[in-house]
């Protein structure tokens, strides 16, 4: 049995071990690879920069703990940018666990900018109903939102009173891990009410958004942890996403090496037969 035959029979636990090492070693000993900025991410940043002080940004937290590793860093980086620009944040969630994750991000960022709940930001919680809910929300927010996440009547909060329909929303940022999510915001909210939509998605969903980027239905896109790392770089807040880039780079290289070895074995086995 030569070396290629031995590699072909490689125990998959060794592959798991190599992946584990490729993830953990760069986290413990960062390499500091440079993060380039792509156009879809820069477009989101520029859109936020262009909004005047006091504009209302809807942040829709449409993911759950399963996608937290990819989307939470984007949530924090985006909120930091909004608060730094003195924009008002109206948080909502199309997924049941989303608003709770959004609250964690708000609690960690808002105090640094002395933002006041109810005036500068509000979390109205999970709203079920997907596409139909979005149509109703855009026409009359009061039909969907009667209280915030904690149960406080929405009309008792200044920001709650300020958002009556889609015309009061200057930008929607959906942090999306699936359905319902970014597609519903584009198809049912953007198409009907014309509100600009930006998104941060999991890496696996990012290629699906490019038709909407090129058609102008999406302002911009933060794809996966890399998109979050680019945004962190733009807002000069190097945190979890930038820290994860070394690991992700090494794991991608390792997977490409696995693919190459696997195909060398394929060619070899064909010749032997």
């Amino acid at each position: 049995m030569n070396i290629l035959d031995r590699i072909a029979e490689l125990d998959r636990r060794i592959i798991f071990l190599l992946i584990g090492l490729a993830v953990t070693i760069p986290l413990l000993m960062p390499i500091g690879l440079p993060v380039d900025i792509t156009k879809p991410v820069k477009d989101v940043y520029d859109k936020v920069e262009s909004l005047p002080k006091g504009s209302i940004v809807v942040v829709s937290v449409d993911y759950d703990p399963g996608s937290e590793a990819e989307l939470y860093p984007a949530t924090e980086a985006f909120l930091e940018h909004c608060f730094r620009k003195d924009l008002r944040v109206y948080m909502i969630g199309l997924w049941p666990a989303g608003p709770a994750l959004g609250n964690l991000a708000l609690d960690s960022i808002a105090p640094h900018y002395n933002k006041v709940y109810g005036i500068d930001y509000v979390n109205v919680g999970y709203k079920p109903g997907g596409m139909i809910m979005l149509l109703s929300l855009g026409r009359n927010v009061g039909d969907i939102v009667r209280a915030d996440y904690a149960g406080t009547p929405i009309d008792s909060l200044p920001l709650g009173r300020a958002v009556k329909s889609a015309s009061d929303m200057d930008l929607v940022m959906t942090l999306s891990a699936g359905d319902p999510g970014v597609l519903h915001w584009i198809i049912y909210f953007k198409a009907r009410y014309g509100t600009p939509i930006a998104t941060a998605t999991t890496a696996i969903m990012a290629p699906q958004q490019y038709p909407y980027l090129s058609s102008g239905q999406l302002v911009g896109l933060l794809g996966g942890l890399k998109g979050a790392a680019e945004y962190e770089t733009l807002v000069r807040r190097k945190a979890r996403a930038v820290a994860g880039m070394d690991s992700q780079s090494i794991v991608h290289v390792l997977i490409v090496i696995f693919i190459i070895i696997g195909n060398i074995i394929l060619v070899y086995q064909r010749r032997v037969r």
Binding site: P65, P211, G224, I255
Partner: protein
């Protein structure tokens, strides 16, 4: 009547909503909004149906000692604990938030992160260039995988631009084709349901 009445409801409500989407008259919009609000209310009850179904299926599994029935006990125990914590202490503090932050988030992230190991194993055993089409897909995948991470930019500064081109041109073209096909199918299916040609959604049963 058992079949005719649902068909009439589906036909009239469906076509009314289509018309209301394009006709901005106030009367149409008000009725349409009422329908939408009813829908949102009905959807909220699906959560209860989901929980009821989850409990029923898992209780049945425990009673009949089906495969891995022990996991059902853990599931029901934690479901009860989270619900009790939420009802007693509220969602914004105490034990509910503690369990959300220290159990649900890390466990969810752990489940998702296992994918890295399986993708690594699949890359070695399954991503094989057996046909010209598979080779093309594999080459594109390798370019995107390297170009989408900082190491690609480090190797060659043009890598990210190449990846953006792959995403913007071949990927978008293929995706648009798929979307058009799927949407045309969706429209034809919707028309079949509205016109009563497709009736499988009503289940079995006689008139």
């Amino acid at each position: 009547m058992k079949r005719t009445l649902p068909l009439i409801i589906v036909f009239s409500c469906g076509f009314f909503m289509i018309i209301a989407f394009f006709v901005p008259l106030r009367g149409f919009q008000d009725v349409s909004q009422t329908f939408q609000n009813w829908y949102t209310g009905v959807i909220a009850f699906f959560v209860f149906i989901g929980i009821f179904n989850l409990v029923k299926v898992n209780l049945d599994k425990i009673q009949r000692r089906l495969r891995d029935w022990q996991y059902s006990i853990i599931l029901l125990a934690f479901l009860s604990m989270m619900m009790a914590a939420g009802f007693i202490g509220g969602r914004e503090g105490g034990i509910f938030l503690y369990m959300f932050e220290n159990l649900q988030i890390p466990l969810g992230a752990t489940m998702f992160s296992l994918l890295a190991f399986f993708v690594g194993s699949a890359a070695f055993r399954a991503f094989r260039a057996r046909t010209p089409e598979a080779t093309l897909l594999l080459v594109a995948a390798v370019l995107v995988m390297i170009g989408r991470v900082p190491v690609g930019y480090w190797i060659w500064h043009g890598f990210p631009s190449l990846v953006e081109w792959i995403m913007n041109v071949p990927n978008t073209a293929a995706k648009r084709g798929i979307l058009f096909g799927a949407d045309l199918g969706l429209i034809s299916m919707a028309l079949r349901v509205l016109l009563g040609i497709e009736r499988s959604y009503m289940g079995g049963g006689k008139e």
